[in-house]
């Protein structure tokens, strides 16, 4: 299967029904996208597929073929969201944060100046068990000022 991840064409020798998540993690060896629930309930595996936030645990490799897939590494490390995340010391255990940041990136791409309510709604599908929600919200606002 041919996948376009972070702007590069990658071949993965996997069955077409394999979720994008496991192809990325186990076969492309890109572990930034996390496994959390496997049923699109927690958002830890969120990636951008043609700019839209998608739960990679619930999209097959076959369906992802031909699309532009952007993962956390694709943000480059100095994306305003990553800068804001660091500045506000958002992460605790950190496991959900790749997914949170990708979801936030999709939000800001579609809505550069989100209200509190916009943020809560857009982020409602991303669980953080450490409870970093208030810092996530503040970091998104901070980044929105910089985007």
């Amino acid at each position: 299967m041919k996948l376009n991840v972070n702007g590069k064409g990658r071949m993965a020798d996997v069955d077409p029904d394999m979720p994008l998540l496991w192809a990325i993690r186990d076969h492309l060896h890109l572990p930034g996208t996390k496994y959390g629930c496997g049923i699109a309930q927690c958002g830890a595996c969120t990636v951008l597929v043609d700019g839209h936030a998608v739960r990679s645990c619930s999209m097959s490799v076959a369906d992802a073929q031909g699309s532009q897939i952007t993962r956390i590494e694709g943000l480059g490390g100095d994306h305003p969201l990553q800068v804001a995340w660091l500045k506000l010391q958002v992460a605790q255990c950190g496991y959900c944060q790749s997914g949170q940041i990708m979801q936030a990136a999709a939000l800001l791409a579609a809505n550069p100046k989100p209200t509190e309510e916009d943020i809560e709604l857009a982020m409602a599908g991303n669980i953080c068990r450490c409870g970093t929600y208030q810092r996530i919200k503040a970091a998104i606002k901070e980044a929105a000022g910089a985007v």
Partner: protein, 726 residues
């Protein structure tokens, strides 16, 4: 200990079990403690010329390299609580190191050196890391600093008294000579490590308590760095999944592996004591293989009772309607007459709760004959080593553990059974040859694996004195024991230390620990996760009975008991929350104050009922955790603890359906707090000169009663069971 030219010198053992030493190992200065006769051990190990702190002769705590970088060896598990930042701050403070050139690495499993003082094991639990590390790491940092000062004095031919250290630079204030740690390294290693170096007075702290220091792991966590067990990739690694029984206590009777074996990528299928293991080339193949298995279970010993049945049983036990008279853990006065006509009676029910960390349980193990290597987010290395040794039929010393950070734990990885680790070791032993095996649990595996916060029932009878304060307190707590044998105090912690109870002239507190076939375990804040709700919600009901403001009612009790710390936290939270000021229609404030693990936390929650469920918009939190080491991380733990407690209070529950099957197995059914329900938390730290106490857990307990107390104002009805939304 003294080291000359890389050879260990003689060591005079002091009466302290751990002896501080410093030496040059592989070009780096290592400061650490040894639990053994240092001379002989060190001589052998030094000749190896170990490059890694893990392989150095005596449990290192600090390593300083020629480039001036300071490495702090973290004996504790980093599970999100930011412990690495705290211990780095403690060392950097006493060493006067450059905060920008400090890094933290995980310690190897070595109980003798890295045991957590209070518990006698290498474990991260009980919010004890910073408290446990405080004196030891300050001493190590100060000793290293003194060695650099002595080295500089020797080199420059000046008095040590005029030498100071700032940001990793050793400076003679008289001659203005200065050199870095790096350039003084060799000479520093030749100095005698002082046994009792001079520690800074807290008012001289520059890093500890500063807002400018924070976590060191932020970059890897916002760039998707491969730091978790789930991310481990080793050459030739296989991935395993296990088919577990659907109910607690079932055993595998028989299985048909034919379909599973036919799945592409599946390497092997075999029985393990916990079920049937499928080993495959990758995670998805393992998953498909497991789905294709056909397993029949022996359900003879299954726990078949439902939550409803267990709750009825617990209630009967609480009313002394069974032959269980419990165990008295606190009594005072003559209870015979005091409760004949209790004017206040209440009962509270709490469900089982899963930890549900974002990273489900997993482990990487390699077993080669009697040698075992684990790469795993171990929270309880001492026990994990022993259990692994038993499973692999070897000795604990042959079990090497590389401790990784974990994607949350909340107690799940700190179990006496090491359940998922043992499962992985058995599979890796079957595979053999040192081949790495990664055990992956799905969210469903994790959620129905048990080791829950125990279901609990509390029954209270209380009478008041002429001033309306509690005078007689009878309290029955019914919950499974967290220890394998007998009753224990963890399920009633917080009760006998509460001045609400100790201030009474009569008290009769008992704990009942019925046997239920559901595995239970430590869950963030342990017994406090329900005792705080019982104590703090009860006290508000008593205040309302007497028509007294709940803050005033608490003040009266704390004053009578001389409980200055609770008083101070109460005053601070009331002031910052605007307690007593009017609120917008439909909103109310609720207050709770609780001490857990030596830390006092007071919270005021602003609550309304929107769409039929409690909505918490703001929580003001005052925390007394002694000297604040990293204030921003204390705030983070209060924010996180409140969300964790609120999640459980609002919607958290594992219920056993008819026949004992857990009714929740993933986030669609096991509901947790999400963004829209998360409150804004404001944290205020009570100034203190006491040694630090922990903050990982104490933020959790007060939020449920704070919300319940606000709901009491809004509805007039007490809360008698959690979660609020059922």
């Amino acid at each position: 200990m003294k080291s000359r030219n890389g050879k260990a010198g003689p060591l005079s053992l002091t009466r302290r079990k751990l002896v501080l030493g410093g030496s040059l190992v592989g070009g780096a200065l290592i400061i650490g403690y040894t639990a053994m006769n240092f001379g002989s051990v060190a001589a052998g190990a030094l000749s190896i010329g170990a490059e890694q702190p893990a392989a150095s002769p005596f449990g290192p705590f600090i390593r300083i390299d020629a480039d001036g970088w300071v490495t702090v060896v973290n004996a504790f598990q980093e599970m999100g609580q930011g412990v690495h930042a705290g211990i780095a701050a403690i060392v950097a403070e006493e060493l006067d190191a450059d905060w920008g050139k400090i890094r933290v690495v995980a310690a190897p499993a070595n109980t003798a050196v890295y045991k957590n003082g209070a518990m006698g094991m290498q474990v991260t639990a009980g919010s004890s890391a910073i408290a446990g590390a405080w004196h030891r790491l300050r001493t190590a940092g100060a000793a290293a600093r003194e060695m650099f000062v002595q080295a500089a004095a020797q080199k420059w031919g000046v008095q040590a008294g005029t030498i100071t250290v700032r940001n990793g630079m050793v400076i003679d204030t008289a001659s203005k000579l200065q050199e870095s740690f790096g350039s003084l390294l060799t000479l520093a290693a030749k100095q005698q490590a002082p046994a009792a170096p001079l520690l800074k007075s807290p008012d001289k702290f520059e890093l500890v308590g500063s807002r400018r220091i924070g976590r060191k792991d932020g970059v890897s966590k916002v760039t998707g760095g491969p730091i978790y067990t789930q991310d481990v990739q080793l050459p030739g690694m296989l991935v395993a999944m296990v088919a577990h029984p659907p109910r607690f206590g079932a055993k595998m009777r028989d299985f048909d592996a034919a379909a599973a074996r036919s799945i592409k990528g599946v390497v092997d299928v075999f029985a393990v004591p916990s079920g049937v293991a499928v080993v495959a080339q990758d995670t998805w193949s393992a998953r498909k293989g497991r789905d294709a298995l056909s397993v029949s279970w022996d359900e003879e010993a299954v726990e078949k009772r439902s939550s409803v049945e267990l709750r009825q049983l617990f209630q009967q036990i609480g009313e002394l309607k069974t032959n269980d008279s419990g165990r008295s853990y606190f009594s005072k006065g003559d209870p015979a007459k005091a409760f004949n006509e209790a004017e206040f009676q209440a009962s509270y029910d709490f469900p089982y709760l899963a930890h549900a960390p974002m990273e489900p349980m997993n482990c990487v193990a390699q077993v080669d004959g009697r040698q075992v290597k684990l790469t795993v987010a171990s929270q309880l290395q001492t026990i994990d080593q022993i259990n692994t040794a038993l499973a692999a039929i070897t000795l604990p010393g042959s079990v090497q553990i590389e401790t990784l950070p974990t994607g949350g734990s909340f107690g799940r990885r700190g179990l006496f059974s090491s359940d998922y680790i043992v499962e992985c070791v058995r599979i890796a032993r079957h595979v053999g040859g040192g081949k790495p095996v990664k055990l992956v649990w799905t969210r469903e595996d994790d959620t129905i694996s048990g080791f829950y916060r125990p279901m609990a029932h509390h029954r209270l009878w209380i009478n008041r004195d002429a001033d309306g304060l509690p005078a007689a307190w009878r309290h029955h707590t019914i919950a499974q024991s967290l220890l394998p044998i007998g009753p224990n105090s963890t399920e009633v912690e917080g009760i006998e230390t509460s001045s609400y109870v100790t201030g009474c002239s009569v008290a009769d507190c008992r704990v009942f620990t019925p046997t239920v076939g559901v595995p239970v375990g430590f869950w963030r804040s342990v017994g406090n996760s329900h005792t705080a709700m019982v104590l703090e919600h009860t006290i508000d009901q008593l205040a309302h009975m007497g028509g007294v403001d709940p803050a005033e009612y608490r003040r009266a009790i704390y004053r009578k008991a001389g409980d200055e710390r609770r008083l101070a936290a109460l005053e601070l939270v009331c002031e910052r929350a605007g307690w007593g000021h009017s609120m917008q229609d439909g909103w109310a404030r609720g207050l709770a104050v609780h001490e857990a693990f030596g830390t006092v936390v007071a919270q005021v929650a602003e609550v309304a009922i929107l769409d039929g469920r409690p909505r918490v918009r703001r929580v003001v939190c005052a925390v007394d955790c002694g000297i604040a080491v990293v204030p921003d991380q204390i705030a983070a733990q209060m924010e996180g603890g409140i969300c964790f407690g609120l999640s459980a209070a609002l919607c958290g529950k594992i219920t056993l359906g008819d026949g004992g099957t857990p009714a929740q197995n993933n986030f669609d059914t096991y509901e947790v707090l999400r963004h829209p329900d998360a409150p804004v938390v404001e944290t205020h730290i009570v100034p203190s000169r006491r040694d630090p106490s922990g903050v990982g857990e104490p933020g959790v307990p007060p939020i449920a009663p704070a919300v319940a107390n606000a709901l009491l104002v809004l509805t007039g009805e007490p809360t008698t069971s959690l979660p609020f939304v059922s």
